[in-house]
């Protein structure tokens, strides 16, 4: 633990240290470099200590935890047993299925909706500030407020959604309480809560699309959809592909929304996600080893996915 901290704190072996300073001039330069470095590290040390204790050390510890277990109050080496334990836990596979379902639904809604909204808002010459403010409003709510609101709306008995459905003659839904709709309900709530950020980023990207290209496309007789396909999307492609990656990484780690909406697992475990399962292993069963093992699996899969994604998107650019 202390090793990285000490390494950062040591006065760095800067260039003048190599040949022993002989002339007074060399010595002065050496002293100046030393002082400059000491000052610079002095400014850095607070943040470096915080990172060491609360970021870098936990990163290292995560690896060790995954290969350790508690036996009679002592920590012993566990080999791969934490991993065989989680792979044999039916909840592991269910959690991954649910997480993939959530990510898929969240991409359909959470990725497409903000882009379409940004496209529409960008066409308006009026009230854009107001609309932008509206879309970002939920992002600024404490999550407990938005989630509990949706919990009321989803209530099958007196909830607002079923009343609206009933009023327009559509069949009422069980929302969070049915295995079929529970995850979709979580995704709808999560999209409402979080779409503001992506929408504003897309809006900013759309401002950068050169207008002449639309004019050129019109001369070729392109309609709105073809203009979107051939001008807007290629021009905003970098932002879109970056946001897609970030959104996949973020939605794979979904925790707060299902935790607050369904208490975690939901009906028959329908909203049990991978991070819910990490939470359960660690804080319900005090099984830190399995929690860390599952965390490592998540880390490796996300890292592999990100690497493949970046490579593929680079290849398709060329």
């Amino acid at each position: 633990m202390s090793a990285p901290v000490l390494a950062e704190r040591q006065p760095p072996p800067s260039a003048p240290a190599a040949p022993a300073p002989r002339s007074p001039r060399d010595r002065a330069a050496f002293r100046q470099a030393l002082r400059r470095n000491l000052t610079a590290h002095g400014f850095l040390i607070g943040a470096v200590l915080c990172f060491s204790f609360f970021s870098w050390y936990p990163m290292v510890r995560e690896f060790f935890l995954a290969f350790e277990k508690r036996e009679n109050g002592a920590t012993v080496w566990a080999g791969w047993s934490n991993f065989t334990y989680i792979f044999n836990d039916p909840a592991f596979w269910q959690a991954w299925r649910n997480t993939l379902l959530f990510t898929g639904l969240a991409l359909l809604l959470g990725f497409a909706v903000p882009f379409v909204v940004a496209l529409v808002l960008n066409e308006f010459r009026h009230g854009r500030g107001y609309l932008r403010l509206l879309v970002y409003l939920p992002v600024m709510l404490p999550p407990v407020a938005s989630v509990l609101l949706f919990k009321y709306f989803y209530d099958p008995g007196y909830g607002l959604f079923n009343r609206v459905l009933g009023a327009v003659g559509l069949p009422e839904q069980q929302w969070l309480q049915s295995t079929d709709t529970a995850m979709l309900s979580v995704v709808i709530a999560a999209t409402w809560m979080n779409m503001g950020g992506a929408t504003l980023i897309y809006l900013a990207a759309l401002q950068g699309v050169p207008g002449e290209q639309y004019e050129a496309a019109e001369l070729d007789g392109a309609g709105i959809l073809r203009k979107i396909w051939h001008v807007t999307i290629p021009q905003t492609r970098l932002v879109l592909s970056l946001m897609l990656l970030m959104q996949i990484i973020a939605t794979t780690q979904v925790f707060v929304e299902p935790f607050l909406l369904t208490g975690g697992a939901g009906p028959e475990g329908a909203t049990l996600t991978v991070v819910q399962l990490i939470y359960q292993y660690a804080f319900t069963f005090n099984n830190y080893g399995s929690a860390a093992a599952l965390g490592l699996v998540l880390l490796v899969l996300l890292a592999a996915f990100s690497a493949a994604y970046v490579r593929l998107s680079r290849a398709s650019e060329e």
Partner: protein
């Protein structure tokens, strides 16, 4: 904004185009207001209703008998003064720690450039690649028993403040802004005999106000919106944040009180947003567009 967008101005200028534009505009404004303000309206008005009126089918659009007293009751029953005070204390502390330590670190990495500085920066940015969810368990175990100093930080504000400093994104934003400050400006200060600290205070910080604003807002809002970490590290009901406190009492109070409490809890961040909207938008897009 007069930039050319998807639909050509010529098309919009035609009577049909004008008609379609305004129809779409009115529909979108109505729909967005309903979707994004509707739930908030429902929350505020439900907080004003009596339990009987709240349970009525169909629901009343405007409360027949407004009970503003619900808000006072919710304030007392859920002890919102304490929850809000706690959250404010954690948020301002986190803000202070981030402003001092992250600004100092970014300044050092950008302008003082110590040996091994790039390795430190790389190690900081590396933490952005690790999913936050993966680190929760080892971070929690660290807070239970911080190595070397051997302290248990559970139920202490330090459990919020110190980890909040490890915000690599803020350091990155700050460093990138500092990088854009011309070297000559700092050299001039140095020639006048200013120490690095003095240069930071009198030259760098005054020009960095925009980025400091963005970082500050994100620091405060981050603490205000966080749920899992304060739930784990501050279990004592007297020390909980607004999110965790309301969540843990949600099942034990009547619905109109709960909704009144949620409305009160939503006010601070909404106020921050309405006041600092411009900064928030620029901060959001700053991270993604350039570079």
């Amino acid at each position: 904004m007069t930039t050319r967008t998807l639909i050509s101005p010529a098309q919009l200028a035609r009577p049909r185009g004008k008609f379609l534009y305004w129809t779409a505009f009115v529909l979108v404004v109505a729909l967005f207001t309903l979707v994004f303000v509707g739930p908030l309206y429902w929350m505020v008005t439900s907080g004003l209703k009596s339990p009987q009126e709240f349970a009525r089918t169909p629901p009343t659009l405007v409360p027949e008998n407004a009970h503003p007293g619900n808000y006072a009751d919710a304030w007392g029953v859920l002890d919102l003064a304490r929850l809000l005070g706690n959250t404010l204390y954690y948020a301002l502390g986190a803000l202070a720690f981030q402003l001092v330590l992250d600004v100092a670190a970014a300044y050092s990495l950008s302008k003082l450039r110590p040996a091994l500085g790039n390795i430190v920066l790389g190690a900081m940015l590396l933490t952005l690649m690790i999913p936050a969810a993966v680190l929760v368990v080892p971070q929690y175990l660290t807070v239970l028993d911080v190595p070397i100093v051997e302290r248990n930080l559970v139920n202490s504000p330090w459990a919020i403040w110190l980890p909040s400093v490890t915000n690599a994104f803020n350091i990155f934003l700050l460093k990138r802004f500092f990088d854009s400050i011309p070297r000559e400006l700092l050299d001039a200060a140095a020639i006048d005999g200013a120490s690095p600290l003095r240069t930071l205070r009198s030259v760098v910080l005054p020009i960095s106000r925009p980025v400091l604003g963005v970082v500050s807002i994100f620091a405060v809002v981050g603490v205000w919106k966080d749920f899992l970490w304060p739930m784990l590290t501050l279990p004592d009901p007297g020390k909980q944040t607004i999110n965790v406190g309301i969540y843990s009492l949600a099942a034990s109070v009547t619905e109109n009180w709960l909704l009144a409490a949620l409305a009160i809890a939503s006010l601070p961040t909404l106020a921050i947003f309405l006041v600092f909207q411009r900064h928030i938008v620029s901060g959001l897009t700053a991270g993604s567009l350039k570079g």
